[in-house]
């Protein structure tokens, strides 16, 4: 009779443990798997997957226990099992070596929880030890229990582990393709080959490397590291807020003349976290992209600074923007609205005469807010001789700032030329920063085209979103800007 009662008690406790575990797992998965539409503000948040306060605790400070994606889903069991081990009357008083291990483990948990919480590699340090501790303590907990209970409990542990692998199977598949089957190795073979074999990369035309040890490891040529004593001044300037044309020119000359730098090598990752700095503006204005492979970006410095190039006789500017005026119609008289879904308002910024602000003010329920606006040759007063620009390049040089959450592939600037049959070819660039940036789009105009348009595509998510533009230039040139 007592045996049956005891068994019932065990079954109830076991079920309760399973239910609590499933609830804990479910709630943790919900939180740590949450994807925020906004982007992580800092590199730390991005790498550590800790962009919200709760994720910062679960994936960060307590990541050793709850970072399921990276470190499995059983480590948290160490907390209740260790408490049981220390307070249960069933276990003997812990021995010295056991206390020593618990002491070191706790010290490491605290150290990593405080100092290394944003780096999964540091959290990984304790993973083998913690997971082994869970298995040993669970074994001890069930030592005097019957075989079926043991098998059942460890089967549940196995099931939890397999579920975790299944839950994040895409991550495993990705790593498998990248590093094991090597279907898509993450190595820039083309870039390395280009830099190694290109005669133009030499001691008089060096590469400024922005945190790119890859260059020094795989390429036998000399480079200039961005934080080395020679170049640190450049990096300090790059990290400042995007400055004036004079700032860009100063940096251009320093790189070109003093450091003999002609190329800049960085990764998209570094560029992403320098959207608000001069670096991005410099890359947009004073450099041209040469190669993009995987996440690596190689830029070449322009032969002359942008402003100098624009003023040269080979470039002809078609005036579409009058900074001295104060209304939308007078600042950009040729501005056209091509397509739109919703009502959009164009207004001049308060106290900023030469800035036009675009926003959506009304939309039908369920419809997507969207507007295409810009310029079309030979329409609304924009007189351009068709014969003159065929075979040449049309360049759209624009200063723009867009609401942060609209830095995506829906919003862009493009140039398109249409054939008579209505087909078209376009060059485009996406807004990359919520701050004021210069964007340049170049397009070779094909002969026999019926029309050329230069377009802003703006898709706000709410009436609060804005697109601000100023200093718009259209330049015809024999080569792309």
């Amino acid at each position: 009779m007592t045996g049956i009662v005891k068994n019932k008690k065990h079954i109830i406790i076991g079920l309760a443990v399973v239910i609590v575990s499933v609830l804990v797992l479910q709630s943790v998965y919900t939180i740590i798997d949450e994807k925020r539409p906004g982007e992580a503000d800092t590199q730390r948040e991005y790498l550590g997957n800790i962009e919200t306060p709760v994720k910062k605790w679960l994936n960060g400070h307590f990541g050793v226990f709850f970072k399921f994606k990276q470190l499995g889903n059983i480590n948290w069991l160490a907390i209740p099992l260790l408490i049981w081990f220390l307070v249960s009357r069933r276990t003997k008083k812990p021995e010295r070596w056991q206390m020593a291990l618990i002491f070191i483990w706790l010290m490491m948990v605290v150290l990593i929880g405080i100092k290394g919480y944003d780096n999964v590699r540091y959290q990984l340090t304790l993973f083998p030890f913690t997971s082994a501790m869970v298995l040993f303590l669970l074994w001890q907990l069930l030592e005097d229990k019957n075989k079926i209970l043991k098998i059942l409990s460890f089967s549940l542990v196995a099931l939890a582990c397999l579920f975790n692998i299944y839950h994040y199977i895409d991550t495993y598949k990705f790593a498998w393709d990248l590093r094991v089957s090597v279907k898509d190795p993450h190595f820039p073979f083309q870039l390395v080959n280009f830099l190694e074999s290109n005669q133009e990369v030499n001691y008089r035309s060096k590469v400024l490397t922005i945190n790119q040890p890859l260059y020094y490891y795989h390429i036998s040529k000399k480079g200039v590291d961005y934080v080395s004593s020679h170049a640190i001044g450049v990096w300090v300037e790059f990290k400042k807020k995007a400055g004036s044309v004079a700032d860009r020119n100063k940096l251009y000359r320093f790189l070109r003349k003093r450091l003999k730098v002609n190329y800049i090598l960085l990764s998209a990752f570094h560029k992403r976290f320098h959207r608000s700095t001069l670096l991005e503006e410099f890359l947009h204005c004073e450099c041209k992209p040469v190669l993009k492979e995987k996440s690596w970006l190689l830029y070449r410095l322009r032969k002359r600074p942008l402003e100098e190039q624009l003023k040269s006789s080979a470039f002809r500017e078609i005036k579409v923007w009058d900074e001295s005026r104060s209304t939308v119609q007078t600042i950009a008289p040729s501005l056209l609205r091509f397509h739109r879904s919703g009502i959009f308002k164009f207004e001049v910024g308060k106290g900023k005469k030469n800035t036009i602000i675009v926003r959506n003010i009304r939309i039908k329920k369920g419809a997507k807010r969207r507007i295409h606006f810009g310029f079309q040759f030979n329409r609304k007063g924009l007189r351009v001789d068709a014969g003159e620009y065929e075979g040449k390049y049309v360049n759209f040089v624009v200063r723009a700032a867009i609401s942060p959450r609209l830095v995506n592939r829906d919003n862009r600037i493009s140039i398109a030329d249409y054939n008579k049959d209505g087909t078209h070819k376009a060059s485009k660039t996406y807004f990359t920063s919520p701050h004021w940036r210069t964007y340049i789009v170049s397009k070779k105009v094909r002969p026999g085209n019926s029309r050329v348009i230069l377009v802003f595509r703006f898709c706000p998510l709410s009436p609060r979103d804005r697109l601000k533009i100023k200093n718009v230039k259209i330049v015809i040139s024999p080569e792309p800007l």
Binding site: L71, I104, G116, R121, L124, T125, A132, L135, A158, C161
Partner: protein, 364 residues
């Protein structure tokens, strides 16, 4: 590929076995099993090679590469002389073990034999598949990971400069490489060693660093080996469960197939804790020696290892059973062992500064 296998066999197998045999000879009280000792020793060959190279480049810089190779071989030659008796003991114990295993096997009924054959066969298939996939796939790709490249560049720098320097003035390397961080020399020196073993032409080729690249996979397997060994002591099925537990952490899987030092550093700190337990339980000098050696190597590899070495010292002082004098003596001995096994790097950095910047990480 042949050059890689030779370097692997020399550094990871032969050197490790020489150390293992020396330890077997030293282990008079038979702390832990012989197999266990050999398992831990398999990690010692590479790291001791790095340490010897470190001392040679520090104290006798600027010599020909051959000098350093001979220097390392000489050190292992001396250890080998000491370990000849150890090899003899090892052979005797292996014979005994094989005899007893064969006897046990005979006693098993056919069902038990079948179960065991399936169990070990499954593990062998797993290991074999991993090795085939790892060597055939993963190891064929060049290093692209940022941190591993930093360590690699430092290794190349040691190779080119033929010295380990400490200086308050940080200068870029000849090729312009410059990094401010807290990288420890141990992992990088494995590449230096590999490049020294290569001929000059090989060092221009894409596979010049295959041995360096194999370190994460090799030490990943050793971690699994240690994990498996200890769980197996409780129950063989618990040991088997350990595998999905480890791989349910994506990062562990990534650690095995990425070129990094994580497996390398985690192995040493993990084993240092095992020797801490032996030291506290057995109170013998052999365990203390290995606690010091593994703690020192953990520190020689990574900054977290330094923290572990400090905590190990603290734990020994607090939890060692004995009067204050004994505890102070043992802790001081441990500290000395840790310093000799690589912690000297930190002392020199504090005293003379570091070419790569001591804990002065620049946020980029």
């Amino acid at each position: 590929m042949i050059a890689f296998l030779v370097k692997l066999a020399l550094t990871n197998v032969l050197f490790s076995l020489v150390i293992g045999a020396a330890l077997v000879r030293l282990n008079k009280h038979r702390i832990g099993s012989t197999g266990e000792l050999i398992l831990y020793s398999l990690g010692l060959g590479p790291v001791l090679t790095a340490l010897v190279l470190y001392y040679l480049l520090l104290f006798i810089p600027g010599q020909a590469h051959l000098f350093y190779i001979i220097g390392v071989l000489l050190v292992y030659g001396l250890i080998f002389i000491f370990s000849i008796k150890g090899f003899h003991i090892l052979a005797v114990r292996m014979k005994e073990w094989m005899k007893s295993a064969a006897g046990k096997w005979k006693e098993f009924n056919s069902r038990e034999k079948f179960k065991r054959a399936i169990y070990w066969g499954f593990l062998l298939v797993l290991l074999g598949s991993f090795l085939v996939v790892y060597v055939g796939g993963t190891l064929q790709t060049p290093i692209e990971h940022h941190d591993a490249l930093i360590y690699g560049n430092l290794g190349k720098m040691y190779y080119q400069q033929k010295q380990v320097t400490y200086s308050k003035v940080m200068k870029p390397a000849k090729n312009g490489f410059y990094f401010q961080g807290s990288q420890k020399p141990s992992f990088s020196l494995l590449l230096t060693w590999e490049m020294m073993l290569n001929n000059e032409q090989t060092n221009q080729k894409p596979y010049f660093d295959m041995y360096f690249r194999s370190i994460s996979g090799y030490f990943g397997l050793l971690i699994i080996g240690v994990y498996f060994y200890w769980l197996y002591k409780k129950n063989k099925y618990l040991a088997l469960l350990g595998l999905p537990v480890l791989f349910s952490g994506y990062r562990f899987f990534a650690m095995m197939v990425n070129y990094h030092l994580d497996a390398y550093r985690i192995f040493f700190l993990l084993v240092s804790w095992i020797w801490l337990v032996y030291t506290l339980k057995q109170k013998d000098n052999f365990s203390l020696l290995l606690l010091g050696v593994f703690s020192g190597f953990a520190a020689f590899t990574h900054l977290i290892g330094l923290a572990v070495a400090l905590f190990n010292g603290l734990a020994l002082f607090i939890f060692y059973e004995g009067d204050l004098k004994v505890r102070i003596f043992k802790t001081a001995a441990l500290a000395l062992l840790i310093i000799v096994s690589g912690n000297i790097h930190y002392l020199l950095e504090v005293l003379f500064g570091s070419v790569s910047g001591y804990i002065s990480y620049i946020s980029y």
